[in-house]
């Protein structure tokens, strides 16, 4: 097996604390408590080691990274280490002085999440009053010099709000929009039956987004992620296991992806115990699904194996019970019918959702049927 590639980005999951309770959260269902969080000095060391390893970008995320009282020090040390610093935030704990302090500390890029285009939808999905604050943050960003991405998390309950979401983005200073359909891990997996869009909704959304991409070319970079249950081939998850990205949990475990801890019989090294470069090159977890020797049929002889790397290991575990299996969303997977059955249920005529981008005709799911992500202590 050839030597591992150089990672592009370090995903620094600084905390699992968060003022929102989004039903699609990609954090693991097993949230880490505050007293396990790594202190500032250890993160500073990790940023330096990451830069030495060749990492170019630090994505400061969580939970809500602004929940960390040392966030300015963390931004400074990531920038001092020579990394491009992104903050992935809900915007809730921000005010103007804090925003200015973050930029002065070296913040390059702010990615602001949106749960919908209205307060009602945002409140249903995040379990919190949050939308107005995000609009305030947008107004402040207009007069600040920082790269801005708006991340709209899309699913059946808000897909009809795409035009409203696009309008919010166009009236802001954002140069990048992500229309990110929910991917089904973590809390999203538990809430999947309420979140998956129908096929007519998805088709209408893709047409809308494509039109927006063309119209806004050169003005706003519009990117979208489809829900891969509807795809023909799987996504190259994380750019391939252990190829481009490394995630550090709040307590210091080094993971190849957000959900990797659900994979049984895998040991994850902790940055407190082992240098980052060693973990990247040699840890059991990172080596486990590198290269092709672990692949099963049809992946191991498939032409696409160096395009999508057999898809997502965590999804293979969740849907097929085996993390080494072909990602079952692949049309070539012997288990694709499991995904088809899930989609049939969502697309059954008894589910009265609106057609295309029309508002849903079914009433909002009763809050008791949502599993809201709690705030760990």
């Amino acid at each position: 097996m050839s030597a591992p590639t150089t990672p592009l980005a370090l995903i620094a999951e600084l905390t699992h604390r968060c003022p929102l309770h989004c039903v699609y959260c990609s954090n693991p269902q097993e949230l880490q408590s505050r007293n396990t969080e790594l202190p500032t000095e250890i993160w500073s060391r990790i940023f330096r080691e990451a830069a030495d390893l060749g990492v170019l970008q630090a994505d400061l995320t969580g939970g809500e990274p602004l929940a960390r009282t040392d966030i300015l020090d963390l931004v400074k040390s990531a920038r001092r280490a020579g990394l491009y610093v992104s903050l992935i935030t809900s915007g809730l704990p921000l005010d103007e002085p804090k925003l200015d302090a973050l930029i002065a500390a070296g913040l390059d890029h702010l990615q602001l999440s949106f749960q919908g285009s209205t307060e009602d939808t945002a409140a249903e999905i995040s379990g919190t009053q949050s939308h107005q604050q995000k609009l305030r943050v947008l107004s402040w960003l207009k007069s600040r010099r920082v790269a801005v991405t708006l991340n709209f998390v899309i699913h059946r309950r808000n897909i009809h709000q795409l035009p409203g979401m696009l309008a919010i983005a166009e009236s802001s200073s954002a140069t990048r929009i992500e229309f990110a359909n929910v991917q089904y891990y973590g809390w999203a997996f538990a809430n999947r039956e309420n979140l998956l869009p129908t096929r007519p909704q998805l088709d209408a959304s893709l047409a809308f987004i494509q039109q927006a991409q063309k119209r806004l070319e050169g003005k706003i970079r519009v990117e979208s992620v489809v829900p891969d249950y509807y795809a023909k081939y799987p996504k190259p998850c994380m750019g391939g296991w252990g190829r481009k990205l490394m995630l550090i949990t709040p307590s210091g475990e080094a993971l190849p992806c957000h959900a990797a801890k659900i994979i049984p019989n895998l040991t994850f090294d902790n940055v407190k115990d082992r240098p980052l470069q060693e973990i990247w090159l040699a840890s059991e977890a990172f080596q486990k699904f590198r290269g092709q020797s672990w692949m099963q049929d049809p992946c191991k002889s498939c032409d696409r194996r160096e395009i999508d790397y057999a898809g997502c290991r965590c999804q293979a575990l969740l849907l097929a019970g085996d993390p080494a299996a072909t990602d079952p969303v692949c049309s070539l997977s012997p288990q694709r019918q499991k995904v088809d059955a899930i989609l049939s249920a969502i697309n059954s005529p008894s589910l009265p959702v609106g057609a295309g981008l029309a508002p849903p005709t079914d009433p909002p799911a009763p809050t008791s049927s949502w599993l809201y992500r709690p705030n760990p202590t």
Binding site: L8, A9, A51, G54, L56, Q57, G82, Y84, S86, D108, H109, Q111, R144, R145, V146, A147, V148, T149, T175, R176, E217, G218, K219, I220, R221
Partner: protein, 91 residues
């Protein structure tokens, strides 16, 4: 999306040059572009001072052995790519 030869490109907010292992890179949200030779020379001139026409003229001088039309075409293509990525503002 044609480029105005009198416009002056400059790096968009939050887009900057970086370096890792002596390799110069252009850093932006979720992308990093390696810069060497011509691409580095172009980016270095995206300072809000040089017009598109001036950048082309400079590089035609540097790469005097190459066909001037090819140099112009390549530069315009690269600038358009960076505009699509939103790495450049044109003033």
């Amino acid at each position: 999306m044609t480029l105005d030869p009198d416009s002056r490109p400059r790096l968009a907010p939050g887009v900057r040059l970086g370096e890792n292992n002596s390799q110069r890179v252009l850093l932006m949200p979720e992308r990093a572009l390696r810069l060497m030779g011509p691409s580095l020379e172009i980016i270095e001139r995206c300072d809000g001072q040089h017009t598109v026409a001036a950048i082309i003229a400079d590089l035609q001088k540097i790469y005097s052995k190459a066909k001037p039309e090819k140099v112009a075409e390549d530069i315009l293509g690269y600038l358009q790519l960076l505009q699509k990525e939103r790495a450049l503002d044109f003033e």
